[in-house]
Symmetry: D2
Amino acid sequence: MVIIMQPGAGDAEVHGVVERIQSYGMDAHISRGKERTIIGLIGDEREIDFDSIAALPGVERAIPILKPYKFVSRNVHPADTIIDVGGVKIGRELAFMAGPCSVEEEDTTLRIAQAVKDAGAQFFRGGAFKPRTSVWSFQGLREKGLEILSKVRAATGMPIVTEIMDASDIAIVGEHTDIYQVGMRNMRNYTLLVELGKVRKPVLLKRGDSSNLEEWLAAADYIVRGGNESVILCERGIRTFENYTRNTLDLNAVCGAKNECCLPVFVDPSHGTGRSEMVLPMSKAAIACGADGLLLEVHVDPKKAWSDGKQTITPEALKELIVQCRRMRQAT
Amino acid sequence: MVIIMQPGAGDAEVHGVVERIQSYGMDAHISRGKERTIIGLIGDEREIDFDSIAALPGVERAIPILKPYKFVSRNVHPADTIIDVGGVKIGRELAFMAGPCSVEEEDTTLRIAQAVKDAGAQFFRGGAFKPRTSVWSFQGLREKGLEILSKVRAATGMPIVTEIMDASDIAIVGEHTDIYQVGMRNMRNYTLLVELGKVRKPVLLKRGDSSNLEEWLAAADYIVRGGNESVILCERGIRTFENYTRNTLDLNAVCGAKNECCLPVFVDPSHGTGRSEMVLPMSKAAIACGADGLLLEVHVDPKKAWSDGKQTITPEALKELIVQCRRMRQAT
Amino acid sequence: MVIIMQPGAGDAEVHGVVERIQSYGMDAHISRGKERTIIGLIGDEREIDFDSIAALPGVERAIPILKPYKFVSRNVHPADTIIDVGGVKIGRELAFMAGPCSVEEEDTTLRIAQAVKDAGAQFFRGGAFKPRTSVWSFQGLREKGLEILSKVRAATGMPIVTEIMDASDIAIVGEHTDIYQVGMRNMRNYTLLVELGKVRKPVLLKRGDSSNLEEWLAAADYIVRGGNESVILCERGIRTFENYTRNTLDLNAVCGAKNECCLPVFVDPSHGTGRSEMVLPMSKAAIACGADGLLLEVHVDPKKAWSDGKQTITPEALKELIVQCRRMRQAT
Amino acid sequence: MVIIMQPGAGDAEVHGVVERIQSYGMDAHISRGKERTIIGLIGDEREIDFDSIAALPGVERAIPILKPYKFVSRNVHPADTIIDVGGVKIGRELAFMAGPCSVEEEDTTLRIAQAVKDAGAQFFRGGAFKPRTSVWSFQGLREKGLEILSKVRAATGMPIVTEIMDASDIAIVGEHTDIYQVGMRNMRNYTLLVELGKVRKPVLLKRGDSSNLEEWLAAADYIVRGGNESVILCERGIRTFENYTRNTLDLNAVCGAKNECCLPVFVDPSHGTGRSEMVLPMSKAAIACGADGLLLEVHVDPKKAWSDGKQTITPEALKELIVQCRRMRQAT
């Protein structure tokens, strides 16, 4: 932490800051300039409250230097984390997770699953528990949906990715899924993250729509610190003033996450754009800037999808997308 | 819902949309213009998936007309909801909830409580469970903090407001609190909202930092639909590009919420600004545009507060603030 | 400026930074910590390029300390700037500028002017040059509109506020206006700001819809540095994800501007909300948190206004608004 | 335009809307539903004021259907606009515009120019007029800088791209540049856009940092309507809450612009990221999703650049970038 004193701050104020720093068992380095004094705190600032120093008399600003995460940082963990699920080495080889937004009736779901498998996807995704803005909207098939997912796995051999909405559902969802998906609304549900740190299944952690890169990586740190190192990050767009697209897909964040942390980074171009005609080009862009995989909404009949039809593509489009993305990867 | 067809859409496409609308048991009204056809859906569009229509062939845009909430709407519930807690009629008389960000050691917490009571606050607030961006930060005193809150109530008679982070904590938190506070990170934790709909204690629902007015009211609808009508809304700032303040306090939303829905609306100027010197003027502004109460961070020694010291005011400042806000209310 | 070196930065990198600082004739203070070295630059960092240091080898971050403005800062100019226009002391007494969005036909405009004067407004506002998103929209009456404004002044004695869109129009607009208004789209039109620094008429400078507080004050510094100290700031809402209102009125910024700089600060609740029913409560909130005046869209028949009818109030509503705002001011 | 009436609106209100529509010489289609009446306006709504209808009694919402632009729309102009500058067919073949942020002393500038030409760039970019947030920052070499640009063209044969900040500089800048660059701060400087519509040189129009896709295309329409069809769009990042990067590069907008309009679309990954290490991956992503070219900050010694050093790459890095982008283009 760097503490910048106000122009008029005197010895007493500087002394007060140094004393507070020392009370945490840390050291202070003082730089006296012509106009201002600057104090550097030496030690692990993550464990002390930032504001307890920013609020001291004479302090103009306190600037954090350490990141709010540790275990997922490239400094601590320089090598790429590779996560093996059903033989696919996520983080090393390109991975495609595809399926409907919501799990639907068994036969439709099985047809979609077979079709995305044939198109080249290695994982099946589909939501049984659906977080919905309005209590009046369809909330997912819930337990019945989970059972359909197990049938998909049995029928196709594809590992399953499905959303977990609450810590109390970890056991039941775990019976049917291979990867827990944490949706953007739950990125800051720390109770859930702490509990997912105790399981031994991979977690796909979507970025919150108002969370910056640091906060996203700090959320991953909650899971990894608990002992579960198998976290996959997933960028799915942030909320901005732009309304042509459902969200603003922030591919800068893919690049930044790859640079700053060791985890695989996925992209969800379906939610990131909200428009089916943009899924292909934005998928290619995601791969071009280093994404390790994609999460895609696919339906055999998008216009009959129970949710998110507007951003859903067909299995035929998925097949072409996978071909083009693999070509893109090779060119990179 | 209004469905705007693409310029070139023909009879087959229009027919497809009408058929889909009728399959939901609703009616369609067709307007054929020179350039485009517009179709109006008549019925409760909240129960059907928006995208299932937006994705149909020939559709350019589908525009929702009904709000994603119902029970909290002024249309359905024109009268102000008044919530009586410990004799204070929230929604009718001005209410002040004050205390430290985090519950601290028993003696400090009791001293703060007595001081805010003397200053004129009717409710004591303090966090035992603290949602923190970094797993390395102080996470609250948890159960021990809850017990201290009960002692505060016993000693001062003040009703308690404290944060609930997870549905599984409803019972334990309920033993010690009079009002459940849902923090901004949990506004979209629908499992929690559904469970809070089943209790018979008021809920203070903070607005998510990237949630718009409609989504905020829709979150309140989750609780009210469950049977718990005692919801207090609380604006606490949204996330924007501005970084002079911790958040951008959106007082427009206070006005909007008062117009659109029946619930009392509070403001948290501490988080809404992040700067103690701005708490007084923004409190007055909140009251001036119609807020029913304030949630304030107060500490006997802000620079020693365990968290959020920079935005915390003293009991003396609180006393003056309450005097000025009451004067402001009278002038309104 | 504070320069934070990367963890592994060695003597050569530190030396490189120091050398660069000294090449600007400034001093460097070095703090060596256990993990990192921190270098403080002592001198007026505003005159050197920030990035020329941030890009040096071994530098992790360079953090500015000085603000990008000087003359309008409270540090340099502690006293409030008071601007006398037609006998009204802006910055000391509450001022109301009211009128239609666009200047309309002469008789309508004169009727509006007389009505807002009767309602208690001291200034008449109306746009002759209209910046419009679409080239297909009405662009204002232009020169003809300016002449109508002069007639309003002659008929009512009210000083005029009207928008200037380009530096080349300063002379012609100056013949008809008492205060130049710089719209939000032009806050960063530095050519215009520099030229307005040379005139001797007040400038009302609206905040850009994506400009933060520092950038807004830095824009004012362009004008003041040129010798024109009569700048009035005007907050009119920023662009966020919220679409219930036309913009998000940022009253925090009013407070912040009053604290950081010496200039009068106005609020435009018409554009700040885009909804006529919110103009009164948000006007009161603006006054409650310290605004020095208001800019308001008023029309004798809002639904016939040539532009912005939805956010326009009637003269009767204006009269009531002025009464309530004056009462609010007294209570503050 | 679609006008949605309030639930309680009666015949008088509906009649009022219809009358207003007819007063513009347009037609109204009425749809009466169980709860609401919906009115469709048939005609070119761009020419009437939106609010004049939204403000009528009984109207809940008025929703625009037509876009605020016409000439640049794919509907009106389905074919790609191809712009030939110095033999390079912009919009058909990949184009690279590279050079320093600011034009520097003659010898440095010439060295950079030769180096970017050798690396494969076809255009030289460099700013002589620099819009700067702070009046205390370096404002560019201005006329002297323009002359250096002419020398670059003479020495290397490369066409020049340089920024125009004000309509009054069109002639002088035109003597030295082949393409006028309109910076993001001037995207809404309509006086400048109108004047650029009268020249016969291409304009590179950067997107404003708070402008959405529609507004950007509407700005282009200002130029094209004036008769200058040679407009190149350039996405350079928007302003969001994320501060890891200087801006949030919105590649969705590249895709959207290519779908909705006929103009070539460029990307500026230097400003779009603000970090030199991200320029290569984001350049590849831009090409992958369909960008027609790149605008890049390049300097022979980035750490000595007069401005923007942190986001500047070397000619060697540029060479590699061009190779990889061409490979990416082929794979697309």
